[in-house]
């Protein structure tokens, strides 16, 4: 396990095979992955922090289990990167923000705990837009991430580091978070698999809150199977998050191998308007492929799609303004001295937060302020009901919906940074999934003529990740041959 190219193409089954056939030990793999990630990182800035001690300890546990012939977890020895909005005990967690630059969490997120229980080796924390607010990773206080497929372009956001590390080969799998498209959009921009599970499928305990009713943790991988393995290890009810669901977790690996012949796949017409022509060509070819695999394709309508952006920017910013009130200079590391308590709060927050976070706190505070609650927040929650209803009505007719992830492929760094509304529009096809709370994912489906990756988005019913993985896996396998 010496060459970088070997590490860069590893998958979970290849790690398992290497460990079982003694091609390498977990310790050797961890050292090689760490040194490769550290030396390659300057190209993309995907990692903010490395965790060599934690990685070595995890690898030693795996090697000890191998030596004793004990049960090996489903992620034994697998190098894992964690988005820096997910807390890790004793390991700096910045949320991409100056205000948490030195924050050392006193506990682990449930998702991280469960992945490490399955033998995953956390090698570091991944860059992201500040508090997961952004679509390009340009809002990180620690510099933008570059897209490994085109270094002058953004990797997408907000989980830009999580997507970039998997694409670059510096982590085998990663986890990120999605509130309005922050997993699927970067996955599509970087050409990797990214999954937003059903709301409540994965515990949010330890996910630093942005918009609590929309926040999801989900996996990135180089294959559908790897993403499914990570999701399965994290999923399921957790007492520490009362919104986590009691829904049983399916055997994704068995179910994804079923053929897709006869599945009814809907094409919501609203998602094909305003699409960049080159993206459209690639998506059309992917849809034809699903047809040739035996999916029954039919046009459907989700009539409230055009209201999703407005709805989202009310619900998400309102919840964010309240969630981010806690960063007040009292408990979390950074304080600007002020003459009075109130000055201290204001100066700490004024200096500690970046422009986009301030903009969203302001919008959220405005829509919740006296006299506006019904006109904005309540109205948006009612529209959210209509958007969710569009999905449930469509799912009475079809088993899944297939759409583009983004209207265009990765854009240039700096291209949209001065126009917030234009930036927000890059999430126009992904916001609905979070609002409705349905599972959705991006699976790579081709490239633009310039060689920029394009992702196909798949939505299924609440808690039916199995059908989503089945379509994605069948499609992915068909593209190999």
């Amino acid at each position: 396990m010496s060459s970088a190219s070997e590490i860069a193409t590893l998958t979970i089954p290849k790690v398992r095979e290497g460990l079982e056939r003694k091609k390498f030990s977990a310790k050797e793999l961890a050292e090689a992955a760490l040194s490769m990630a550290e030396s390659e990182n300057p190209k993309t800035n995907a990692f903010l922090t490395f965790s060599p001690e934690r990685a070595r300890a995890a690898a030693a546990r795996v090697d000890a289990a191998i030596a004793k012939g004990e049960y090996l977890g489903t992620l034994a020895g697998v190098p894992l990167g964690v988005k820096d909005v997910i807390v890790t005990k004793g390991l700096r967690t910045t949320c991409g923000s100056r205000i948490l630059e030195k924050y050392i969490p006193p506990y682990d997120a449930t998702a991280v705990y469960r992945l490490e229980e399955e033998g995953a080796v956390v090698i570091g924390k991944l860059n992201c837009d500040e508090f997961a607010m952004g679509s390009s990773n340009e809002n990180s206080a620690f510099g933008p991430v570059r897209n490994p497929r085109a270094l002058d372009r953004v990797p997408g956001g907000s989980s830009g580091g999580s997507a970039a590390a998997v694409a670059q080969g510096t982590a085998v799998v990663t986890i990120g978070s999605d509130t309005g498209g922050s997993i699927r959009q970067p996955a599509s921009f970087c050409g990797v698999v990214g999954v937003t599970p059903t709301y409540g499928r994965v515990s949010r305990y330890g996910l630093v809150a942005f918009a609590s009713s929309l926040d999801h943790i989900g996996p990135f991988g180089r294959t559908v199977e790897d993403a499914a393995t990570v999701l399965r290890a994290m999923a399921g009810r957790d007492d520490m998050d009362s919104t986590s669901a009691f829904a049983p977790v399916d055997d994704y690996h068995a179910l994804m191998r079923h053929p897709v012949r006869g599945l009814k796949v809907g094409l919501p017409k609203e998602y094909f308007e305003g699409l960049n022509a080159e993206t459209g060509t690639v998506i059309d070819a992917a849809i034809k492929k699903l047809g040739s695999l035996g999916c029954e394709l039919r046009e459907v309508s989700l009539p409230h799609t055009k209201y999703a952006l407005s709805c989202y920017y009310i619900v998400a910013t309102a919840e964010a303004s309240s969630n981010l009130a806690r960063y007040d200079g009292v408990r979390y590391t950074i304080r600007e001295d002020g003459a009075t308590l109130s000055d201290m709060y204001r100066d700490t927050r004024g200096c500690g937060f970046g422009a986009e976070v301030k903009r969203r706190i302001m919008l959220g505070t405005y829509v919740l302020s006296a006299g506006y609650y019904d006109a904005y927040y309540r109205k948006a929650q009612q529209v959210r009901t209509l958007i969710a209803r569009d999905f449930s009505e469509a799912f009475e007719e079809v088993d899944a919906l297939v759409t583009p992830v983004s209207p265009f492929p990765a854009f240039k760094i700096g291209e949209k940074v001065d126009d917030p509304l234009k930036m927000y529009l890059s999430d126009v096809y992904t916001l609905t999934g979070d609002l409705a709370g349905v599972p959705c994912m991006s699976v790579p489906c081709g490239e633009s003529p310039e060689g920029l990756p394009i992702g196909l988005q798949i939505f299924t019913k609440h808690f039916d990740e199995a059908t989503m993985f089945r379509i994605a896996h069948n499609y992915e396998q068909s593209m190999k041959s």
Binding site: S310, A325, Y332, R378, V383
Partner: protein, 99 residues
């Protein structure tokens, strides 16, 4: 929809955010633009629509109640470890009441 600088400063006060004059004028432009976009929601009649808070998996009303057993909480030292100023087990802030 246009927000005046005075309105922006009022909202910034509610949010405990110090904004520079430049930030205030940028904010009134950006928020105005977003709020104008958001006005499209008024096209929809939602008078008989229940608001949606989040996705719920059907379960017993008491399903989320867990057994109440003693567990070790964070220690005082752990809880205050990240504070910029603490002492004697407390978070310290600028003086609020004069003696």
């Amino acid at each position: 929809m246009k927000l005046t600088d005075t309105e922006v400063r009022y909202v910034a006060g509610l949010a405990n955010l110090r904004l520079s004059d430049e930030e205030v004028s940028r904010m009134s432009h950006d928020l105005g633009e977003i709020l104008t976009h958001i006005e499209q929601l008024n096209e929809l009649d939602t008078s008989n629509i229940e608001p949606m808070a989040q996705v719920l998996y059907p379960a017993d009303e008491t399903a989320t109640l867990r057994e109440d057993y003693p567990r070790a909480p964070l220690t005082n030292a752990e809880a205050t470890a990240n504070a910029p100023s603490s002492g004697a087990g407390y978070f310290k802030v600028p003086r609020v009441i004069e003696r």
